[in-house]
Amino acid sequence: MRQSISKKAVIMRRQHIGTIIRIISFALIVVLAVVVAIPFLWMISTSLKPDLRAVFQFPPQWIPHPPAWDNYLKAWNSAPFNRYLMNSVIVSVSTVVFEVINACLAAYVFSKIRFPGRDLLFLLFLAVMMVPSQVIVVPNYIILSKLGWIDTYWALIVPFVASAYGTFMIRQAFLDVPDDLVDAARVDGASHFTILRYVMIPLSRPMILTFALLNFNWRWNDYFWTLIMTNSDTMRTLPVGVIAMQAGAEGGTNWHYMMAAAVIVILPVLVLFAMTQRYFVEGISHTGLKGV
């Protein structure tokens, strides 16, 4: 009898501890969320300040009065942002389209066609994942200049239209499609391309979409490769253009315009992420994303 009472007390105390932990952890996570969000808020706040005097006001005023919305227009017009945006879209979209096509073709071979030497070829594909593009940037610069591609779209697109990582991801999805289905279609006279187009790809749509999104994000954010492989303003993408704008500013940085420009650069990514959050998170949890 006494034992059961004390046991009850223990359980009740434990529930108390549970509630306390829950409250503390909720408070902690809210504080951390504010800390993580503050740089973004500071960026927006600065981008809306009417002039440099307001920017350098100390202590800072978080909500500019009145907010200078036309900073965004001025930032956009202070550098060829139309061109940067167009370049970013052309490069990222075409890279991802070709990359997805090539990855699907290769994934089909590595999951559904058997032939001698396939495993060796697959190993060659897998090994590519161990070679980050940074490691081979010097020879690639020379190769691309031999091809006459430096400072053209080709240099930004062609080296990335094949993806070992994408082939691997999409192959995983293709492996889940029963071989019997493919064999039956073959017996009925369907070509491999028809099977890929009308059976494999529709059945693996979530994985393909996830890969496309991750890689769109990765190409869109690229700074390193584009910085090295382009040298004229007309070829710059948003991530490189915004830095060139800062470097070109004479006599101190106009932080209100700079922050407006930075918001313009990150906004498309954030909107895309907000709309497709689930795919991003799932894709990254399954595979881990390259690059920081």
Binding site: I17, S25, I29, L32, V36, I38, P39, W42, M43, F58, P60, F98, N102, L105, V109, R114, F115, P116, R118, D119, M130, V131, P132, I136, V137, V138, P139, N140, I142, I143, P159, V161, A162, S163, A164, T167, H192, N217, N221, Y223, F224, L238, P239, I243, W255, M258, M259, A261, A262, V265, I266, L270, F273, F280, V281, I284, S285, G288, L289, V292
Partner: protein
Amino acid sequence: MALRKPALLRSPLRRADYLTAILFLAPSLIVFGVFVYYALGFNLYLSFTSWNFLSSTKTFIGLENYQRMIADPRFWKVIVNTFYFSIATVAFSLLFGLVLALILNQKMSGRGLLRVIFFSPYITTTSALALLWIWIFDPNYGLMNYALQLVGIGGPRWLTSTTWAMPALIIMTVWKTSGYAMVIFLAGLTNIPHELREAAQIDGAGPWATLWKITLPLLSPTTFFILFTLLISAFQTFDQVAVMTAGGPINATNVLNYYIYEQAFINYKAGYAASLAVVFFLILLGLTILQLRASRRWVYQP
């Protein structure tokens, strides 16, 4: 993946399969052949030469670039910096990612929104964020020193200080990558059977003991995965270094990837940069192999 006998190739269907396979693989094979495999070989060759990208001949100098590297105090400084930066960012990102994931793994309102907030720095454009952080670390008007002043600390001159420029880069990068660690930890946590934790609690384990005796050990494969992927990407860091400090002041934040860029595209030393890239590649390869080994050993089998 049992291989069919080559004899089967003689049947017309098999030959068609073979042709299709080659056709389907051709685009990828050409791209990898030129921009990865040929490039790797070319890089190795370049590392034995002295060349400025312009002159018509590359001078073959054997191992001289590697000897120079060993004698180059800047190279060793760069190596130390790279390890300092990588270990610090990975350690803090792991820690914060774990704490965030443990809290967000509980049922609470606003969980989805919180997850988006923590994850958004990871997917946004690094170069633009680096600009933001230059402004945050502005010694006179920046947010960081303002915040420090509020608690009575006079902040340092962050990005222009040889001592504080590296911590500044580390803070920025931890802010950016903790969300990645969180997302993967959350995925790992959902794989831990709920009954295990409940059973431990029924047996009298408190929340602290459950965490240390059940959750963390079962999370170890996830932890290893995050550790190595973060380490590999930390070693490749370029964008924030190039934008925020350009490796300075006085090489205080010069990391391997930036040093290669600097040698190749600012000093036009193609050969020396190529030899640095070989070393860089070997370090990354070593880490990847270590990861494969570790994951094989640590994969949790239910």
